[in-house]
Subunit: 142 residues, 4 copies
């Protein structure tokens, strides 16, 4: 099973007055992580996509379960698999752990559209093929 | 049906290179909004809760549907109802509209715990009673 | 002396693990405040400027003195005066207080340029005239 | 001359509707960078300092010159030197470049205090000695 992963350290800047990582900042981290997956995992650079090709990949649905508190300087490991590739959307499952313990699990549905018209665009064949490499095996698509 | 609502303007600081509101910043807005609901809607101030009483109200589950793009200087209206009050958790449904059009819908499950032990705490009776005022009517709790 | 002012509450989302407002978030607040000054104080809306006219007003210089810690739910009052109007730049002095006590003082130098070329643009006469209304009196321009 | 440096990529999450890095986010990056300097450059971990020893290192003064716009996926190199070590403060000079071109220059004055009393604390000898390794040579302290 192909899993795209990255690690990231929880910083002072991510914390709040409760002394733990403030959850809205996890979504900023997730955007960076998905940006890395597009660039390094798929070979389709976010900058090229947005600036040169005027295509956007907006997040249309998120589910998130926050399991354990993130503490300053915890090393988080993010692991991503694809659970479904639609005509112009893709479903991702992301797990964040630290030292083997769960921190959060999220699912993202990301759409593909033309930036100027806001109309959905089918994935080009090469992008679809690149995504298939990260598909979770059958039976794990929930 | 009691709905707690607030309006907020999308700022330059909320936008990204795609020219629209960057969704991770919506979660920061939601935290401010829920903070207002605790203080103004329930009469239990976030500061008092966190600093004086060392109680935390962490978000444990989120579902979000992003329906329409937010543009700079759109006025967003957020409307909150309670869909379930558990022993030490509360379920919220939030709708964001602008000029009558949907922008996003979210559900939040918020827990109640002692900050130092991380153990869940049942809601005190006065807090539970305050929450009941914002309950959605039967049949709309989904 | 004409002073443009606004108030803003320090939120949970502005705090860090030291329990006080995290200073990088003050710069986000300052951007919102300067955005309000352009729109409400000068009558030149940030959205119109950026989106329709493709003009940008980048910050080119900042000096900041952080005097007192900001605590959750402090009401901050921001007061702005203009200290210098250049050909294609403007110098602003901002003071933030809470309950009459200083929190921070900042000076900003903001430039005026064409978004596409990055070349500086002289202020149009109407914008310059609007800025003059907020000029600090002689002898206070330091 | 000892210079502490790190690189960091400008992300989609750092951009604004003008398509360039939004300057308030540079201050968040600078906080991470100074956190790295404390931990990796000085050997005094931010977490240990804040959580275990209840000491804070608040920023009391900043000067910033923004020289060139930051674009998505630019690699920024940050270089830090110490220009002055006071009894309970330290002055830092930071230069950010990308591909050899200047992006911004900042100076920071950072204080050292007890978190609970807010009173300034002299640097311990070992911290002072660690800081001296990063001092800029004479004649460059401006």
């Amino acid at each position: 099973m192909a899993t795209f992963s990255r690690t990231r350290k929880i910083r002072f800047a991510h914390t709040d007055a409760a002394g733990i990582a403030f959850y809205p900042r996890y979504f900023g981290m997730m955007n960076d992580f998905i940006e890395d997956w597009f660039g390094d995992g798929l070979g389709f650079d976010f900058k090229h996509l947005h600036i040169d090709e005027k295509r956007a990949v907006p997040t249309v649905h998120i589910e998130a379960d926050f399991i354990g508190a993130g503490r300053m300087h915890d090393e988080l490991t993010f692991a991503l698999t694809v659970t479904k590739i639609g005509r112009s959307s893709v479903h991702l499952r992301i797990r964040a752990t630290s030292g083997g313990e769960d921190r959060f699990r999220m699912t993202f549905v990301i759409a593909h559209m033309a930036m100027e018209t806001g109309k959905s665009l089918p994935w080009p064949d090469d992008m679809r093929a690149a995504m298939e490499k990260w598909l979770a095996p059958e039976g794990e698509n929930s």
